[in-house]
Amino acid sequence: MTRRIVLALYLLVLALPIYWLVNMSFKDNVEITSTLSFWPHRPTLEHYAHIFQDPAWYGGFLNSLSYVALNTVISVVIALPAAYAFSRYRFLGDKHLFFWLLSNLMAPPAVYAMPFFNLYSAVGLFDTVWAVALAHCLFNVPLAVWILEGFMSGVPREIDETAALDGYSFPRFFFRIFVPLIANGIGVAAFFCFMFSWVEQLLATTLTTVNAKPFVAVMTRTYSAAGMDWGLLAAAGVLTMIPGAVVIWFVRNNIAKGFALGRV
């Protein structure tokens, strides 16, 4: 019983700030600034309507989704063969390479903000969704390799050997037999790439100015202009939570397995 109460309290504490934001997003700015109310007394959709009508806003949302999707695909695709190599073979420098990869997970993004700015300007990718997608690979590729390696090591090597004996070529074996076997792991890896790319803001805003501006950067617009547009800010915040919530609902069962491997 105590357990239930502790858990309920914890969930309540988690939910309260989120609820407050949701609550605010349905109020008009007069109500926000004049009274502290637990639910909107004059509920309005004006802030959401504003976001869906202003190309700067929904364009930002599309920009965010496209670099997140690009990044997820790139990370998983190039991590797959590497993870296979690490899980199946020993080769010259394998351990060093693995740790060097993981060390990229520990590098503060702030350190990379400035050199990335120079690098992507130099190669002409600055202010494109590609710049952000590639920049996020810095931490997502090592993460994907790590997660996938864990799942692949759980598949017995006899499977590879049997397939080779049955005359499968390596690419055919890899895509027809092996990839379906670790579908769970791919799901988990994709989820985490999605998540870390979606929540990151520093690199995303540093590498874009106008054309590829992500949603989180558009949100800073509400600070300027005539004072603070709290309602609009809240509505934008609420919208950013939706993709994450949707994605985690779909992979909720796989996630538990990923956590169980200690690879997250």
Partner: protein
Amino acid sequence: MMDKPISNRAWFLVVPVMAFVLFSSLIPMMTVVNYSVQDSMGQNSFFWNGSEWFQHLFDPATDIGGRFSRALVRNLFFSGVVLLIEVPLGILVALCIPKRGWAVGAVLVSMALPMLIPWNVVGTIWQVFARADIGLLGAALTGAGIPFNNTQDPLSAWSTVVVMDVWHWTSMVALLCYAGLKAIPDAFYQAARIDGAGRWSVFRNIELPKLRRVLVIAVLLRFMESFMIYTEPAVVTGGGPGEATSFLSLDLVKIALGQVDLGNAAAMSLVYNLITLTLCWVFFTTMTQLDARGSA
């Protein structure tokens, strides 16, 4: 693990990842190293500056050195505080999650929700929530007679940032621990009941030893993330009041992108990165060694 075949052809499989890491890690790092030993007169003309930037950085008497050492201490203190709160709290929460039943999925998903919110939105949520005029928390505290103001009172700013981090990340510790707890076979709990062990004894002798491995990962991840924290405090406090919540990343971004002081920023980047790596390495090796000694 021991019987993996040796094959250097496996390098071909690693080539894409290598190319990537070279492009997005090594080249940028070389730029940083380059800046860290040069000075600029503007108009893209650089000249050799030796180790001067590093000397400044390590000398607390200089402006940049003072800033750096204060930010470093502040950041270590912050990491320590959040670890001390999040790890025990996470374990406690994990112990409270039911092992099976329809509610488990819903509980896990709602727990994970804060982690899926973009970090600047997390900052926004707490910026709003803690304001005395329109936020529930700020208003409640002010109403209870506790002086609370993020923009003027360092203690308020600090507690907001710490509470925000606890809110944001405790679930991760809890989820990791929950996975660890679920891996304990029922027989252990049954044996403990038969042996007449109390709740504390079950925790101390069964659950905690089995959680060791996941706790290593949890502590490592939490340390890393809290040591690199940027976005959330940048939104909530902007590093203020004064420089009260100005952590390493915030300071670095201010110098690099705000003041475009490339030499200082680059030197600071390198040292910052090295500290992170060293601390992680130390954490990791001591913990795995403790683990190995326990199993010997």
